[in-house]
């Protein structure tokens, strides 16, 4: 009994120490964001004169492109998420509930695209963007992410649980197929849609390699790309970099707090069904 207690206390201790390791960088980041250009280089943990100037510089000053980058990330993440929600479920539904020649092949093909690394695709995508003049457009940043094979896989899993009688009843009622999809099927898989939406939004918000390549004009940068450009020829303004990092995390932390249950469940799902 005591042995049990000891190991449990030991477990708590280890977990707490680990939690500190997890949280500390974020704390340090936020603390640094309240230090100005001089304080940032002082060897103190807490700012001697905490200031909101960095936030003002990043968010409010006319020369800062941060708000633009924020907007770009928001637009790109939202548009791709809406597209992914619609098309991934449509494809998942079709693969789950319809029978037609070539179904297995198509499913395998879609899943196999998961194996193709982005690193290989960026070069052809770049050639495509140049040819179609998609450089420095929202479409150019978004197009690779409009449909996600992983989402198709996930939605298909969920769609298989929908009872066929429901669909048949709707058909007998004379509803068109697309109508059935939108009015009957989608409402039944909202938990899955929510999970997919959250993950897609987060993943898209954090995307780096492709936006780095396709957005050459600073006003088209997404937030991660903009953040990476803070250190340049004029030195590294660490106080601004830390502030930028903090701001770039805020939307995700908010999403995280609101949707934590779905996020945790979603992660678990990928592992268990994978």
């Amino acid at each position: 009994m005591i042995e049990r207690r000891m190991t449990t206390i030991g477990a708590y201790l280890i977990l707490i120490v680990l939690s500190v390791t997890m949280i500390f960088p974020f704390l340090w980041m936020v603390l640094s964001s309240f230090k100005d250009a001089t304080q940032i280089f002082q060897s103190r943990i807490f700012p001697s004169h905490p200031t909101l100037d960095n936030y003002r510089t990043i968010l409010l000053s006319g020369s800062s492109r941060f708000p633009q980058w924020f907007l770009n990330s928001a637009i790109v993440a939202t548009c791709t998420t809406v597209s992914v929600l619609f098309f991934d479920s449509l494809l998942g539904y079709t693969l789950a509930k319809f029978s037609f020649p070539g179904k297995k092949l198509i499913f395998l093909l879609v899943i196999s695209t998961l194996m193709i690394p982005t690193e290989m695709l960026v070069i052809p995508w770049y050639a495509l963007s140049r040819a179609m003049k998609w450089g420095n457009t929202y479409w150019g940043i978004m197009f690779p992410g409009m449909i996600s094979a992983f989402g198709v896989f996930l939605m298909r899993q969920f769609m298989t649980t929908i009872p066929n009688d429901l669909l048949d009843a709707a058909r007998i009622d004379g509803m068109g197929e697309l109508n059935i999809f939108i009015r009957v099927v989608l409402p039944l898989v909202t938990p899955a849609l929510a999970t997919l939406a959250i993950f897609n939004f987060i993943g898209n918000w954090n995307a780096f390699l492709w936006p780095l390549i396709v957005a050459s004009k600073p006003k088209m940068f997404t937030l991660p790309v903009g953040l990476a450009n803070f250190s340049g020829e004029a030195g590294s303004d660490w106080h601004l970099i830390m502030t930028g990092a903090t701001v770039s995390m805020i939307p995700l932390v908010i999403i995280f707090i609101i949707f934590q249950k779905q996020i945790v469940r979603g992660i678990a799902m990928t592992g268990l069904k994978g």
Binding site: L109, F208, V264
Partner: protein, 298 residues
């Protein structure tokens, strides 16, 4: 038209646009990359000649590429097992505690959902040499010597790897914990009644049952680490993959070849080699672990 045929037609209509997407955005480009890797395509010259396997020989005889391959393998072969091992341990610990389990889990997932660019810069800030870096300040307070971290050819790769591990821990822990919680309690209770120790329960029941998840995570993490790019780009000086190419990953090599040297054909060849490496490692893992997984089921 028969009902079945009608349904099939509907299916094809629904599939049309998504399939165009997959072909246009995934398969087509893949074949394009393969084709272009056999040419001397460059953004600085107007030529586009077929040169056979010249790009591949050039890349494979480039010391920098070989170094980046070595680095990439190190990232994967050291990183993936550590992440899996640590997260499994944490999941087991979490399973033990009752209070605050949810809170702990949330804290561990936080690094995973935040932008990698942001955390890369935060860690880079923490890794700074004296007088700026907080980690070195801590070392100094404890009487330990300062470390060069990102400035040392020996330590830089592992410094970046540590950050990536830190990021992935939350994801793997959550998956493992979910897996552990699906193990029926009766199984474990029964074993305990039969006199099994905690250790035996762990090694004979829990771990074997977690094999499919472990395999899944090994493959996913393996692929993740083999493709590592963003932390390397943001944590090496001028995104060079230094010092002395010690942190350069294959993905960064490809990026530099394509977008700073503008040798697109050569970069495409390098990207195909990376692709082949990812496939090989994945298939190898599937073979090795699948045997063990199915072996255990008996």
């Amino acid at each position: 038209m028969t009902l079945a045929k009608k349904r099939a037609m509907t299916a094809y209509v629904f599939l049309a646009l998504p399939l165009v997407f997959f072909v246009g955005v995934r398969f087509g480009p893949m074949l394009y990359a393969m084709g272009r890797s056999l040419t001397d395509w460059s953004l600085l010259r107007k030529t586009n000649q077929f040169i056979g396997l010249d790009n591949f020989t050039a890349v494979l005889s480039d010391g920098v590429f070989l170094k980046s391959l070595g680095n990439t393998l190190t990232y994967a072969l050291v990183g993936a097992p550590i992440v899996i091992g640590l997260s499994l341990g944490i999941a087991l610990l979490l399973n033990r505690v009752i209070h605050a389990r949810g809170l702990f889990r949330l804290i561990y997932i936080l690094p995973y959902i935040t932008p990698i660019v942001a955390v890369s810069w935060v860690w880079r800030w923490m890794y700074q040499s004296p007088p700026l870096g907080i980690l070195n300040a801590l070392f100094s307070a404890l009487g330990l010597p300062a470390r060069d971290f990102l400035l040392s050819p020996k330590e830089a790769l592992y410094s970046i790897l540590a950050v990536n591990i830190w990021v992935e821990l939350g994801y793997c822990t959550t998956v493992f914990l979910a897996g552990i919680q699906t193990i029926p309690m009766d199984c474990i209770e029964a074993a305990k009644i039969d006199g099994a120790t905690d250790g035996q329960v762990l090694f004979r029941i829990i771990l074997p049952l977690l094999m499919p998840i472990t395999l899944f995570l090994m493959i996913m993490q393996g692929i993740q680490f083999l493709r590592i790019f963003t932390p390397v780009y943001n944590m090496s000086s001028q995104a060079m993959g230094g010092p002395l190419d010690s942190t350069k990953s294959a993905a960064l090599y490809i990026y530099q070849m394509a977008f700073t040297k503008f040798e697109m054909g050569r970069a495409a060849a390098a990207s195909l080699i990376l692709f082949a490496l990812i496939m090989a490692v994945t298939l190898l893992q599937l073979r090795l672990f699948d045997k063990r997984a199915t072996g255990q089921e008996q």
